[in-house]
Symmetry: D2
Subunit: 294 residues, 4 copies
């Protein structure tokens, strides 16, 4: 790992500056998290790619796309990503268990000269066995069958529809947060994630208490804030096989858990805000579908 | 079927009057629906039993307990019911498929001299085969295994807890109906069902439109009113493996479907009313549990 | 029910004779079991149809096709069957629970004037509700989804392939019975069923003991003989989602249960006979598939 | 890895000799595969432990117990194993996905000073998170629920019964191999595995052909020989939720696949040999159970 000067300004500009300063090309890879699950922040991968192009730097582009692939638009080829990873348990709607890696020809070439010792994670072993329909280690067949069905579901709905459904649902959740008089973790609206929303609680409240009440009293699993935001945020996940009513239940439960912990919100206010967003969009989407069909 | 004079007054009084008038004992059975699924009305079976005792009439007591057994307190022995029926798809939380019949010794005796032709529904055939662990016809083994698990779940939670959970959930739903400025189908609160609530829509609205919107736009299945109340009510089912958050989602969806059809309610008002009911009761229940454990 | 003279000769001839003798057309329906599950006898429905045509008799043709539909060729239209019934638990490979009835226009017409009281089994109620996509009573949705998948599986394999698979498997089972020095219940090979084989045990043995040993010692469920053949036969079912190896396991288990009960067979002899039948047919089928593909 | 002199004699003696020669204790760990899945060879872990004790050497004892735990007797504490691993997909009867590691206090202590870089496989991270009921990474909850059920099944049957069932089934398989005139991979009967049997084919036959025929023609999955024994053996797995009839089906299928590839065996001979073994043992086990109960 190389420590680079990390100034002020947009992340893309800072990446460009760091790469331009690296005239000896000691930086081998730029690693970006597409959707930061712990804070609900989505990065601009296309912007990062532009910054790398602008700097004319040969580093590989690695993207952690665990909580974006299958839920938020991600373009491996168009953005010339070299290595993207995801898991089975997010947008692919399965139990945890599969790690899925997509490798560009450049990254595959780089592996040949890489010196880190590896066994289980060797691409070469996997490719060699895959040629004949085998795996180097016992694969999880149920998850492979599940993956086939997940992909069928995603393509049946259509990826653009899947992405706009996540955008619509996330928009309702953010409407609720605003109605509660609270805010998300993001510094600017452009970073708001469409798959997870981290809600900042008032300073006098420990977010861990809200999470605990939600789980123990209402069977609702909220995510915790980690490191810097521990105790300051709780997270509402909203990705995968999800619709408005499931989220209304979750928002209603979040309201109860916040009220139980002394956070002064108007009961039902977040639910009402989400309803308003979704009623408008649903009606709009239906009107569009009808006009398209006509 | 015998037409009896059906005067005014409480149902139990009218049953008692009809039985007293039947000096020749032409009435062979009194048939009561414990919980009327189409209107959300619960009858008072203990009261019916008292009326029959008061009339000193030998009629058998038949109870349709399809949507009460396993969700609302029902006492076959204590109330001296002669024949009770239920199905697998309500409080027993399984797919439709099993019809379950409970027969008193008196009803079993009566079957011997009954003249209605029957094959599939013969108790005698069933009893004869059951003795050796068999069935007269191919049984649905998956449902029998499911029944074993359903009963284990009910007894694990404890029937008194199951009944009070249904009462608590129903109470929240009725709070929502009241907050919407609407009412249930029942003439008096004592008849309100704890497993299904029929909501009367304003006169200018066709309830079928609300049901249709809920299903097509929000994936929410509401029940329709039948015969006399067709178009005038929609029904929210709330029994079985259900908790507060599932119902909050349903109530939120009902609000959207009503708003979409021009019913003027305050968005989120029903959800807020239910939250208030449930937050109080949950806290109370926990406090009680703690003091009991202490 | 009308008692008709039942002479000697082929069943079809006797049906024709009985119908010809019925000049007043008191016989309203001819009821035939296509595949008799308890004895492993398959009737010739096309032959019965020819006999009815020959007699120029207007009776309706009713067929119990429970253990043939989906496994043995059955032609409702071509044979002009008026009413056929089956269940979900045989060739449709599902749990018991669905009764499926196919009704000809003539039978539907006859229902209108039929006087037998019926509620649950009324075709008219079912048709009336089905028009709008509903059912008169709560349907078993899991079985309806299962039916969709069963039919998809049958059509994916192709009905002619499904029928020839059952014929091939049954042929191996009969090879095993012959190798054991035993015989099936059928008087002539043409009646042998392709979905179930009833094996006649030697006179000194109670077939119930074989069935009991198979179940308790080897987890193998064999069918019992009923009424006339009780204790004289046991039955091996071979229909649905089944292949050679499952049947080899069953035949091997039958051999153990027979040996344990003193039936003197050569161990492995039935298995070897079935293997010989199946190896020949499999190889033949593959050769054909290759020449078709070429 | 250290190259040690590997002489002739029993493996345990050779281990003892190597350890005694290592006076400077450069050997840090002795790694043994309890049950070698690719060849069907079971090692004597108790013997290895004795050899280590005899040599008075402080090396840690590592055991790959993937295909033995839950099927063959394995004693972590009694044999003072320091680190044992298994997976979910063998004796625990689940899909692949869980790696299960058992660590002795000595091994846990050794980890603290170990210098190999690790992240995902760090015991320390796992222990730290487990304390509060969490995992350092998203766990596969379905497999954890499955594990609870697997263990319940194993303890319900009783581990001694599970081990003797595997011994009984394996004994029948070896009887079949002998009846075919073939042999297993093992030099002496004491090494024969009770969970997998590798069958050596005649020299003129490629075992890969037998495996291919079994899979394509009979839906039977046999294991292949690897490296030194590639093409020379095929493997029959026999562990987990398995009984006699499933194995009879497998043995019958193996016979067909061998015959199809010109291996001259008597059809049904292996099945008959296994039947003889199992009939005797089943009867014996039942007699024992009855006398124990008396």
């Amino acid at each position: 790992m190389i420590d680079v000067e990390w100034g002020a300004g947009a992340p893309e500009d800072r990446i460009a500056a760091a790469l331009k300063a690296d005239r000896e090309h000691r930086i081998k890879g730029v690693m970006v998290v597409h959707n930061e699950t712990a804070t609900g922040v989505t990065s601009d991968i296309a912007g990062v790619r532009r910054a790398m192009d602008e700097a004319e730097h040969p580093a590989l582009l690695y993207v952690d796309a665990v909580s974006s692939i299958g839920s938020i638009d991600f373009r491996f080829s168009e953005w010339r990503v070299d290595l993207a990873i995801t898991g089975s348990q997010k947008g692919l709607m399965m139990p945890a268990g599969l790690g899925i890696v997509c490798v560009s020809p450049r990254a595959a070439e780089a592996e040949k000269t890489a010196t880190l010792r590896r066994v289980f994670f060797s691409f070469a072993d996997m490719r060699r066995a895959n040629v004949d329909g085998y795996f180097p280690y016992t694969p999880s067949l149920p998850l492979l069958y599940g993956l086939r069905e997940s992909l069928a579901m995603l393509f049946e709905e259509g990826l653009p529809n899947v992405f706009s459904r996540h955008a619509r649902l996330a928009s309702g959740v953010r409407g609720a947060v605003h109605a509660w008089g609270l805010s998300t973790c993001c510094r600017a609206p452009r970073w708001n994630s469409n798959t997870v929303t981290a809600v900042v609680v008032p300073p006098h409240v420990n977010a861990a208490r809200v999470i605990d009440t939600a789980f123990r009293r209402y069977d609702l699993a909220l995510g915790a804030g980690l490191s810097k935001v521990a105790g300051k945020v709780f997270r509402i996940g909203h990705l995968g096989d999800l619709n408005e009513l499931m989220l209304l239940g979750a928002l209603g439960g979040v309201e109860m858990a916040m009220l139980d912990n002394g956070i002064e919100i108007v009961p039902g206010s977040g639910v009402a805000a989400a309803q308003t967003v979704w009623r408008g969009r649903k009606a709009l989407a239906e009107a569009e579908a009808i006009s398209l069909a006509a």
